[in-house]
Symmetry: C2
Subunit: 431 residues, 2 copies
């Protein structure tokens, strides 16, 4: 039975987040009604199997294994998609929008790859598409861009937006663990998946950055155009050198206005002590935004996990319910300028940190400095420690002033090729 003051909800997916959303909808119904002026009714839940044991017991008559029981039912007004993955989730969302259903999703993969197209489709169909939970549960980000910062030209977004890598880097920094040991610890605590490659490789952060940059700069930023480098190249010793130089190492998602183009990249960065992002610890997330009027804003939260993500999903549902109750006649249509290009990484101006293992003999440093000079890369600081290996090799660390990334890469290659250089053991950027 659909009463005029009710919102009929079809939920896709009943995992960690889905269970929390279902729990809130079924067990906090009165307080949700008070806040939105509407009755949020969980009408149907699509699951893969009815017989999986779950943390939260949904009444069996609400469950279905047939997508059509949600997508093809005209009484369902909003589809909440928490299944994740690209397909069939994307097709479900498109089908829901075309059937004039509103959509709330936490799917970063789909929103990163297909967000602009789906948002434009929602505009055509005059329905709402909400996706606060896709970027970082618990951080009020999309609504901040949509409302609070709308008077601004956004200049820069820098974010610690992947809790797994931030936890892993933190353990490497604090305990000197190697990457594998830190990842194993994260897995044991439930902070990393069995296959952590999406997090460790930077892809999760790149999806979230593509969404943030698209909204923040009104551009179509596909994750394929985000330069993405994971934390595989960071070693425990790099945290020691970084601290000596006044930095922490973070996996940063970074986007900035660069003339008529934008930069969008994900890679490990040496962040100076005193910068608010240097202090983001454990599996927390933080997004730092610079706007021309507002100056600097920092938004920080837990970023992941069932409850913070459910908070964003149910927040979106309440906003949708309130907008339906207010009889909104036409919907926000997002626009994305297809002509805004992403600067290729080779053209980005960046600072770099090199750690090389060199033969401990005269003339080595002169040869290295000559390469920097010839590539037009000037040096900001250098550390050479005493020889520490039986084979007489030593570590030599350099940070540079800003230079085109292509020149930094060329320098790296040429130094690695020098006779007296055993290897370039680390190559990271510096904020």
């Amino acid at each position: 039975m659909q009463s005029p003051g009710s919102l009929q909800i079809g939920l896709i997916g009943l995992g960690t987040v889905g269970s929390q959303v279902a729990d809130r909808l079924l067990n906090h119904r009165d307080s949700l009604r008070r806040r939105s002026g509407m009755d949020l009714q969980l009408a149907r839940v699509l699951v893969r199997s009815r017989y999986t044991s779950r943390a939260f017991a949904v009444p069996p008559d609400l469950m279905t294994t047939d997508p059509e029981a949600i997508l093809g039912d005209p009484s369902i007004q909003v589809v909440v998609e928490l299944a994740g993955g690209e397909e069939p989730a994307r097709s479900y969302l498109e089908k829901a929008l075309r059937a004039h259903k509103h959509v709330v999703t936490a799917n970063k993969l789909v929103m990163a790859k297909h967000g602009p197209a789906l948002l434009e489709l929602a505009g055509e169909m005059n329905v709402d598409l909400y996706f606060e939970a896709a970027v970082g549960g618990g951080i009020p980000l999309i609504s901040t861009f949509k409302v609070d910062l709308l008077a601004n030209e956004i200049e820069r977004i820098a974010a610690v937006i992947n809790g797994t890598t931030n936890f892993v880097l933190g353990r490497m920094a604090a305990e000197g663990l190697d990457l594998a040991a830190a990842v194993a610890e994260a897995q044991a605590l439930g902070y990393a998946e069995a296959d952590p490659s999406d997090d460790i490789g930077g892809f999760d952060a790149a999806y979230k950055l593509a969404i943030m940059a698209s909204i923040g700069f009104g551009a179509r930023v596909h994750p394929d155009s985000v330069y993405t480098e994971g934390i595989g190249g960071v070693e425990a010793v790099d945290f020691r050198y970084a601290r000596e130089l006044g930095y922490e190492i973070k996996l940063l998602a970074y986007a900035a206005r660069a003339g008529s183009r934008i930069e969008a990249r994900v890679h490990p960065v040496l962040v100076p002590h005193g910068h608010p992002l240097a202090a983001v610890e454990g599996n927390h997330n933080a997004v730092y935004i610079e706007g021309d009027l507002v100056g600097q804003v920092l938004l920080q939260g837990q970023g992941a996990g069932g409850r913070p993500t459910a908070s964003s999903v149910v927040g979106d549902l309440l906003d949708l319910a309130s907008s339906i109750r207010r009889q909104v006649q036409t919907r926000v249509a997002f626009t994305f300028d297809p002509d805004i290009e992403v600067v290729p990484m080779s053209e980005v101006i960046a600072r770099a940190y090199f750690r090389s293992t060199v033969a401990d003999r005269p003339g080595v440093l002169a040869a290295i400095f000559q390469v920097f000079g010839e590539e037009g890369v000037s040096i900001s600081s250098a550390i050479q420690k005493e020889a520490f290996d039986a084979d007489g090799s030593a570590e030599f660390v350099v940070t540079t002033h800003p230079a085109p990334d292509a020149a930094l890469q060329k320098t790296r290659e040429r130094i690695a090729g020098l006779d007296s250089v055993r290897r370039v053991s680390a190559f990271l950027r510096v904020l």
Copy 2:
């Protein structure tokens, strides 16, 4: 001339914030139209005198000194009030709402004292009342409560929300300045008013807390019911002891759910190192929120100044314009439960920091400890430094475990009355 796609704006006040708002409206018209779908037209500006010299030149034909030219003009759809002060601002807002005009205001005094009544009036008149800029320009706070955190039961709000006192405390901590010298420095830099008593006395923070607590807890929290204590009782030496114990000293605006009542208080607090609010520096503002689903969220920004505040005002205007363009038929009606009481300070359970100047002779500490014991206040840590005065007095610092504030106050009085105690030089709470 009013075209269907335009929003006619009457601006009251052309000071620091008003000039920035007028500048943005007049000089960024195209980008604002692109973002809201409407033409934001600055139709009239109420000033006290046409002949004041101003940072930003508004066309003279837009200026008026007659409030009726805005409030009595049916073509004006929205009144932006940036005059400040309680009256006539409150009357202007009431009159505007009764004339079915939307309102955007940055007036914390009026919103703190009359916010619930004005918001309910706006609901009756079916117009919008926006006040993001009243709490802390640049921090996306009201919309965070209205949308992003709406699925949560808010448990706690703790905020460094007055830039002047945070700057002053920071200078006292870093340089050992006394309060007067630090205030003079803040005045010289434009961070404090000629009469800084609203900031130093904690009243500005109490207004902002009253607004935040009203929205966050759905209660009618009048600033008179917020226990308010300024930073006058903090001395430079307290920062040294606090750091030794692992704390910074901040003026905190604090509200929390306490059973069916709420706590709402403003006073200096020892905040432990590692808490995100301990690291808020200079004239920055930060608001820390705990919700039952989302966990912990931190929002940080510049908090004051013409540009960040204008960012919030114009953000509100864009949201209003977009809502008009979307033909919203009925408006959000805020509700405030008049039955939610504020816990009297005497009943609040708090921890305290005492610094006493005591005679350096046997039996003094025993007498002090006896008082603590008799009042049921247990001690968490104690520091006694060697005698440092010619008169043989010494400083004795104690922090306590949680106890009712009445017991802490009683303890303070009794200790101050002991023969061997010269004075209780500082009495602060501990987070």
